[in-house]
Amino acid sequence: MKAKCEECDADISVPDDAIVGEIVKCKECGSDYEVAEISKGQVRLKVAEVAEEDWGE
């Protein structure tokens, strides 16, 4: 599946077995996106959350 990077307009390749919530990275500019929706072979991405102070393990 393919999507466009909002930052640099590059093509982002999303694996066919991706699931909603998964993070994908733009190989051109490094922006992180989250898979927001998959429907009929089409994928919609949204900008991924930025790490907060309480993130971790």
Partner: protein, 283 residues
């Protein structure tokens, strides 16, 4: 048996857990906690499985959701008590010391007024860590008072009052690595060295640390299981250092990441976690 995996950022670990749960014949659902709207004063919260594996990357989301689910009678790995104990380094250090687990000498200064006196008592170099946080974020080393002064200036400029209190720990001389031990109940399911990257003294995989296999021995097995028990048990990641006087446990992690450990472990860590969750659900 239904296993619910809660998340707010779907990482390789969560995907592996789903895959391994399917192989184990366990029904699984993934719940994005950011989409939940929960009636905390109602009688029942539905939509969760027999047991919940809490995998939120945000400490507060994880803790708050666990409080809610436990209050409504659900079983969560880990319990809120464990999440709190591991999520606050002050509590972790005190619980480890109380249980007799060897741990680095640690002081707390409740204001910048006493932080220099505190550092003198601990002895330079000192390590400053935020009370809450992970991945080595904002963990600093002050080799002398001048550096400490700079760190304190930055911390005092931050808005949150929690940044104006100081967790001050002795700097332990160790090889440029530490040991990550993943515990599920009373079993150590993975053990690896975490090797610091060339340009950093911190060993966190999130900071570029790499893993190599670590062979367990009786001494570290005992210390690790005791450390896990000290924070309340469950599924935790115990971090230990090799000091001149023996192993020292410096942290216990509540939502243990295992991508790094998996790279140096032959068996599937995710499968061990699923098996543990299933066994807990049946208990």
């Amino acid at each position: 048996m239904k296993l619910t995996i809660t998340f707010d950022r779907l990482r390789l670990e969560e995907k592996e857990l789903v895959k391994e749960a399917a192989k184990a014949g366990c029904k699984t659902d993934l719940v994005d906690v950011r989409k939940l709207s929960l009636n905390i004063t109602g009688k029942k919260i539905s939509g969760f499985g027999d047991i919940v594996l809490q995998r939120c990357i945000s400490y507060y989301r994880s803790l708050y959701l666990t409080w809610i689910l436990e209050n409504h009678g659900m079983r969560v790995i880990n319990t809120a008590k464990v999440a709190q104990a591991c999520g606050n380094k002050l509590l972790t250090s005190m619980l480890l010391a109380k249980a007799g687990v060897p741990t680095p000498k640690t002081y707390v200064a409740l204001s910048s007024e006493s932080v220099f006196e505190t550092a003198d008592k601990v002895g330079y170099p000192v390590v400053l860590k935020p009370f809450t946080g992970s991945w080595g974020r904002m963990v600093d080393i002050a080799k002398e008072p001048q550096t400490l002064n700079t760190i304190v200036e930055y911390r005092e400029a931050m808005q949150s009052p929690i940044d104006h209190m100081y967790y001050v720990q002795e700097f332990v001389k160790r090889p440029p690595r530490d040991i990550r031990l993943i515990v599920a109940g009373d079993e150590i399911i993975a053990s690896v060295y975490r090797n610091a990257p060339k340009d950093d003294w911190r060993t966190n995989v999130a900071r570029g640390g790499t893993t190599t296999a670590f062979k367990l021995n009786k001494e570290i097995e005992e210390i690790t299981l005791k450390a896990a028990e000290a924070v309340g048990g469950g599924l935790v990641g115990v971090d230990a250092m090799e000091s001149k006087s023996g192993y020292l446990v410096h942290e216990v992690n509540n939502t243990v990441e295992f991508k790094g450990a998996q790279a140096s472990t032959e068996h599937k860590i995710a499968r061990k976690i699923v098996d543990y969750a299933v066994a807990e659900a049946k208990r």
